[in-house]
């Protein structure tokens, strides 16, 4: 299978403090990749570099065969940032408006393509089980419901890859279970490649196919099965990393 995203020798830091050092990574179509690692290991930074939000000091990123500087098909990438649910609760946006934002096209929001835009929004909301909340103000929903809406927003453009950064922070255990089942469905039934930044290696055991373990450098990058047999995994379990859940 071809690489959808390929990173080579990425180095990034602030004011001389390294965050990523010579990190290489490849993501193939259909992968369910977990990026794991301790606090400050550079997980979120890596995702931001892969998405072009941060420019690395060294190294290069290719998306769908093109250098990131030449890549223009951003509709094919969906992103749910780490603090997605830390929104202003008084922001006057309806669920429908929040999902429709990602269309970034006036024609599909205000103009002639409005019907097509609405249909795409409804389809994405249905995908995450939130279609009955379409008229609700986003700030009135629970954290778990908001997270689903943000995933619908990431799905509305029909992406090939979905990036999620610590999506279940602050969400209760039952909702987390439903949430990961939904990601399984998107990956296995809809064929969407998923890149999940997580702190909880328990997730790795149950859902993902590939693992990238980061601690400024790439400590491990390969299949989930091999990871579970690796020393890295044994060390993490012995430290109790699967029990860690933290608030950012």
């Amino acid at each position: 299978m071809s690489d959808l995203i390929k990173a080579n020798g990425l180095t990034f830091g602030y004011d001389g403090s390294p965050i990523l050092v010579d990190v290489s990574l490849s993501i193939r179509s259909g992968d369910f990749l977990a990026i794991i690692g301790p606090n400050g290991s550079g997980k979120t930074t890596l995702v931001k570099v892969l998405l072009g939000l941060l420019r690395p000091q060294a190294g290069r990123v290719e998306i769908m065969g093109k250098p990131i500087e030449e890549f223009t098909e951003w509709r094919k990438l969906g992103y749910v940032p780490q603090k997605a649910t830390h929104i202003d609760p008084l922001f006057p946006a309806s669920v429908e408006e929040v999902v429709g934002m990602a269309l970034v096209s006036n024609r599909q929001i205000l103009g002639a393509g409005r019907g097509r835009g609405s249909a795409a929004v409804l389809r994405a909301l249905r995908e995450v089980g939130m279609e009955t909340y379409r008229g609700w103000q986003i700030g009135r929903l629970s954290g778990g419901q908001q997270q689903r809406v943000f995933i619908a927003r990431a799905l509305v453009t029909g992406p090939r890859v979905l990036f999620l950064d610590e999506p279940t922070t602050g969400v209760d255990a039952e909702t987390q279970g439903h949430f990961y089942d939904m990601l399984d469905h998107l990956n296995q039934d809809e064929g969407i490649t998923i890149v999940l930044v997580t702190h909880d290696i328990g997730i790795v055991n149950r859902h993902v196919t590939q693992v990238a373990c980061l601690n400024q450098r790439m400590v491990y990058h390969g299949s989930h099965q091999e990871f579970c047999r690796s020393d890295v995994f044994r060390d993490m379990v012995s430290r109790g990393d699967h029990l860690i859940s933290h608030e950012h």
């Binding site: 223009t72 929104i87 946006a93 599909q108 929001i109």
Partner: protein, 271 residues
């Protein structure tokens, strides 16, 4: 007031006032939600320097104010990026500088006269036909640019990082929004005056945000509050023979207070 509407000066005041106030209100909704509400105050102080420069150089004050305000708005963005300053600090620095330069130029030009007072306090009832058409044209252009970029501006206001991943050129849009705000502030000087024009940006938008459950509704309510305030403010001004700018802003505040009261009642009911 209906009987007076056949007077040219009042027709011009209503036309220019309504267009400019709607542009202010629409931009205000974006600016408040971006936590940039004070940009209106900052740019109005800078516009004062532009007016003083125009009077000093004996060129059209409105044109000088436009050039200075747009340059300063882009300068504020640059100062934020290059010097790593918070937005309010950058606004504070350039607006104080604008006020200082304005006072200096006005003193040098010995032009603390009727012209300058008209810009400071607003004189919408004395607005000239050419100024009306200029105001309508520029306000319509501002609204058109907002309309054409509505989806991107909304996404960027709500979640800047995700908007960038979706291909929105956030830096470029920041510059567009700041330039539009500068143009609108300058247009609003004749309606509300340099000292009060920022109120047209903040108060109708804040009123719109009281009751809206969607962004579109917030923009529509803000626009409606702006129109009602200008028309009612002008009527009150004529009736009581008080300054139009003050009447418009005070009326606008009462509408805001009323809507805030309705919101409070709603919240109490839902508890």
């Amino acid at each position: 007031m209906a009987g007076l509407l056949h007077y040219g000066f009042l027709q011009r005041a209503v036309l220019a006032g309504v267009f400019v106030a709607v542009a202010c209100a629409v931009l205000g909704v974006f600016l408040i939600l971006r936590k940039d509400a004070m940009i209106g105050h900052g740019l109005s102080h800078i516009a004062f320097a532009g007016v003083a420069l125009g009077l000093f150089l004996n060129v059209l004050p409105l044109a000088a104010a436009l050039a200075v305000s747009v340059a300063a708005a882009l300068g504020i963005l640059r100062l934020k990026d290059r010097a790593g300053l918070h937005g309010d600090t950058a606004i504070g620095i350039l607006s104080s500088l604008g006020l200082a330069v304005g006072i200096l130029l006005a003193t040098l030009a010995r032009s603390f006269n009727v012209d300058l007072m008209a810009y400071l306090f607003g004189d919408v009832l004395a607005i000239q036909p050419a100024e009306v058409w200029l105001s309508i044209g520029l306000a319509a252009a501002v609204l058109l640019v907002v309309f054409l970029n509505y989806a991107k501006l909304l996404f960027m206001t709500f979640d800047r990082e995700s908007a960038r991943v979706s291909g929105v050129k956030a830096g470029r849009l920041d510059a567009v929004l700041m330039a539009l705000t500068a143009v609108t502030i300058v247009l609003g000087m004749k309606v509300a005056g340099i000292l009060l024009v920022a109120a047209l940006i903040v108060i109708p938008a804040a009123a719109g945000l009281q009751l809206a459950s969607s962004f579109r509704m917030a923009v529509l309510i803000a626009g409606a509050v702006a129109v009602v305030s200008v028309v009612a403010g002008l009527a009150v001004s004529l009736e009581l023979d008080i300054p139009a700018s003050a009447a418009i802003v005070i009326f606008c505040f009462f509408v805001f207070a009323g809507l805030a009261g309705v919101k409070r009642k709603r919240l109490v009911k839902t508890r």
